[in-house]
Symmetry: C2
Subunit: 347 residues, 2 copies
Amino acid sequence: MRATYLFGAGDVRVVDVPDASIEESTDAVVRVVRACICGSDLHPFHGAEASVDGIPIGHESIGVVEAVGADAHTIAVGDFVVVPFGWSDGTCQFCREGLHTSCEHGGWIGVGGNGGAQAEALRVPQADGTLVVVPGVDESSELLPSLLTLADVFGTGWHAAAQARVQEGDTVAVIGDGAVGLLAVLSAKLLGVERIILMGRHRARTDLGVEFGATDVVAERDAEGIAKVLELVGPAGGVHKVLEAVGHKPGYDQAVGILRPGGVISRVGVPQYEEAGVGFMSLFGKNATLTGGPAPVRAYADRLLPLVLDGTVDPGRVFDRTIGLDDVPAGYRAMDDREALKVLISF
Amino acid sequence: MRATYLFGAGDVRVVDVPDASIEESTDAVVRVVRACICGSDLHPFHGAEASVDGIPIGHESIGVVEAVGADAHTIAVGDFVVVPFGWSDGTCQFCREGLHTSCEHGGWIGVGGNGGAQAEALRVPQADGTLVVVPGVDESSELLPSLLTLADVFGTGWHAAAQARVQEGDTVAVIGDGAVGLLAVLSAKLLGVERIILMGRHRARTDLGVEFGATDVVAERDAEGIAKVLELVGPAGGVHKVLEAVGHKPGYDQAVGILRPGGVISRVGVPQYEEAGVGFMSLFGKNATLTGGPAPVRAYADRLLPLVLDGTVDPGRVFDRTIGLDDVPAGYRAMDDREALKVLISF
């Protein structure tokens, strides 16, 4: 089959590899119908070590189940499914608590040599616990782009808002106008927030953010961005909640700078730093709370899928370019050059 | 009057200074009946720059109101009061939300040149919002030590537990066997927690911690301490909540190491570091939440004072030595040498 592999920094190729197949009795094999390129794919795209064999990449997909292992009982061949970016057994203590990304038998699609989703098919471990069956949908559905966002970016934006416990009456700032940031805006809006400040400077993206519910857009960054937000909220002294959807250190410092005493910073952008300010001058002095992490998108599917199916929301609008599998290398470059917000791969 | 001043590292003296007096119309002057030495006083005791004039020190006291300014209306001369370690107006947006330590007109007793509490009297700004009147108590009460803990350490231990949202069913670890750590144990117990692991290695203190509700004591530190706690909790994979009551970096790293995925680290020990691990390998990867800060002990007085008055709890047991004002320098040394857990000053 054809699959996308990363051979080093900037060197992504679509190559022939052995077909995905059942390896464990709890696996399923999914024929990919739609996949996409994630902002977080750009991190290894920038920094991967050169490798002769390459590593599979991609972690967001929807498709049709082609095969199931002997111990997969709730998934059947022919099911149309969303494949969350992490797999999970659905039964361990963490899954039962809704934290599927800490599953005791879990792992990550397209990371560390596991089959990637930017491919014609992929093996999905722990199929029963992982896959989200979407009844009544087939490959011709107009909902495919929005369904695909349930594999990662919609659930991740939702996680930012949910972990921050955003609520009516909060002023919320979202840092980052990528797909996750925009869907964090949408999530905050769904959760009843009226004042949403989107920090981003790509006009086409922030315009979509406004359609999703942002009431203010701040294009400035760093100290200027902080000053602008503080000016916007005036005597409140900062925003109640910050949803950080980038993962770079300046975004963290910006979050600290605009946060109101007693507020919450919820991070879903994978941190590209390990240490940051947490002392009296950053978090402690103002009783700030820092939360977030890899989103258990599987946990949120039950709540978000109906909103997609009934048309309440249209998160698939974050895709602004559609390509075929062979064009994936060009898709990476388009996202890296910020010519495209998020690239959909159609098979 | 006589007051305790710090003149440099290790150089604490009781000196004659002008009497405390009303400076703002919202002030009160409190004649101190009991004060004490705090673990956090040891930080400037270790690190203060040499100074000819010295700076007042001490932030925990109870006493009798001697004078009130023209705009203090709810406090009267003769009232017996607890003086929280921070002052606050009680009316700003943050006070109304219970975050008195971020009061828009607030400040800290005994910090930055403000009159200290290890003195015969002190000026208390924002008297109406700050002082907690204790009806029916006078200088002869046996409850004085426990009432004094409401000025800081009991409210601070409570804050650790409250911010972590500890609840029945949680396994909670408390890092630090100082007064705040022990009262964090007591607070967790009051909030219904059954399994409380106290990390500390001073036997007399941890014994008191066991009386307050600790079910396990771990004397080991760092990697050994982490391994011991993980062994104790077994398949749970860590503790649900960590209450960090020390403020040194190794305590932070220990908290991260013993935390269960999805858990909460609540800090009330004033951090003696600014940067710490918050990335994928520390907080983010396991969706940990970091919270805490200076405790709004004024907010908790309404809930905790009745428990002291009716004898439900006896937090004053953390005091294991009583001295007079002139012996305060020796009291600092006793705490610094860990000969005393917490030193009470009787006037």
